[in-house]
């Protein structure tokens, strides 16, 4: 595919992605913070639904030979250290590397600073990468996936895992419907829990 065609495809796919992120409200900082404080579960709902659909898509596509998987290598050092730093960054940003662009599109001004910091962070890593590489690759295990490790066909595990995720989401929805987490301004910011009235304020009757 030519670079020009790839850019056009990227813009079209990105526009759909951004539209859906906005409709899902998962780009809202209050949704991210709420998830990490276990006060809102919108992020998990969107994320697990996305993983479940991806599992089904890839089970079908690889099953019919239309696609080949391209998983990343298992690098314990890099995955855990990088994941931790990434998680700290996501909490402080109230965004992920993808949703920061959705914040910009929706109008949040601080997202421009997140974007600038992100480009600088990626550049800093680029300059440090040759030095860091031996540490990051330490105990590297290659492209290990659950189907390979367990010797089970990918499509079977993928469909099974998708079913588990769907069941978990059904349970989550029964426990608390998603609409309760959207908020009056659709920004995921919910009113503070009503404080218990102080004992003295309760009439003696």
């Amino acid at each position: 595919m030519s670079v020009f065609a790839a850019i056009l495809l990227g813009l079209a796919m990105g526009a759909a992605f951004g539209f859906l992120l906005e409709k899902a409200r998962v780009f809202e900082p209050a949704v991210i913070l709420g998830q990490f404080q276990f006060r809102s579960f919108l992020m998990l709902r969107v994320f697990l639904a996305g993983v479940a659909a991806g599992l089904v898509v890839l089970a079908v596509m690889t099953g019919f030979g239309w696609a080949k998987l391209s998983p990343k290598a298992l690098l314990p050092m890099a995955d855990i250290a990088g994941g931790l730093v990434l998680g700290v960054g996501i909490a402080l940003a109230g965004a992920c590397p993808g949703t920061v662009l959705a914040q910009i599109g929706a109008g949040y001004k601080d997202a421009w600073f997140t974007l600038a910091g992100g480009i600088l962070g990626a550049l800093a890593f680029t300059y440090a990468e040759p030095t860091l590489r031996p540490v990051l690759d330490m105990a590297g295990q290659g492209k290990l996936t659950l189907d390979v490790v367990t010797g089970t066909p990918f499509w079977m595990l993928a469909l099974g895992f998708a079913a588990v995720l769907v069941a978990a989401l059904v349970g989550l929805e029964r426990w608390r419907p998603w609409r309760e987490e959207i908020g009056a301004e659709a920004d995921g910011l919910l009113p503070p829990h009503p404080a218990a009235p102080p004992a003295a304020a309760v009439p003696a009757e």
């Binding site: 994941g83 931790l84 962070g121």
Partner: protein
């Protein structure tokens, strides 16, 4: 039926439709959805104006050219366009800084801008160390049953939960 003018769609529907975006990614580019390596392409391309020698770093050179790299840059620009369109259609247009930041941190506008810059730096530093973010490891890695992605996502949630509970006031 969800309408284009709705402010919120079912997160399950929106999430599942996002998952379907793996179809064109695998079909046309032979790759999965991802976002964070586009920051390397953008950063290294900008840096090349000042430091042409950056091409000498193999990691930079691997991100500077080619259809896959610029597809992903276009993808994240498209995300901004799509969110812009959706928010204008529904009237959920955002201005300034989300009110949750005042509640969680007590910071004013300037403080929040500084915090966002540092946050972006950490976010992409971490994502590049881990070789993926919420999209690449989260959506795509988990959908491929990659053990490294399960580890990275677990660490990401651990980092986020620790930060949000230790540093921030409760958001509700």
């Amino acid at each position: 039926m969800p309408r284009l003018t709705d402010k919120a769609w079912s997160p399950y529907l929106a999430g599942a439709l996002i998952g379907l975006l793996q179809i064109p990614a695998f079909l046309f580019l032979g790759t999965a959805l991802g976002a964070s390596s586009s920051f390397v392409t953008a950063g290294a391309s900008l840096a090349e104006f000042l430091d042409p020698g950056i091409r000498g770093i193999r990691y930079a050179a691997a991100h500077l050219d080619g259809a896959k790299n610029w597809w992903q840059v276009a993808l994240v620009i498209g995300v901004a366009i799509g969110a812009f369109a959706s928010s204008r259609l529904s009237g959920a247009v955002r201005r300034g800084v989300a009110p949750v930041w005042q509640r969680a941190t007590g910071l004013g506008r300037g403080g929040r801008f500084a915090m966002a810059f540092a946050a972006g730096f950490l976010m992409l530093l971490g994502a590049r160390i881990a070789d993926g973010c919420t999209s690449g490891h989260g959506l795509s890695g988990m959908a491929q049953l990659s053990l490294g992605s399960f580890a990275a996502v677990a660490a990401m949630f651990a980092g986020g939960i620790l930060t949000a509970t230790l540093l921030f006031r409760p958001v509700r």
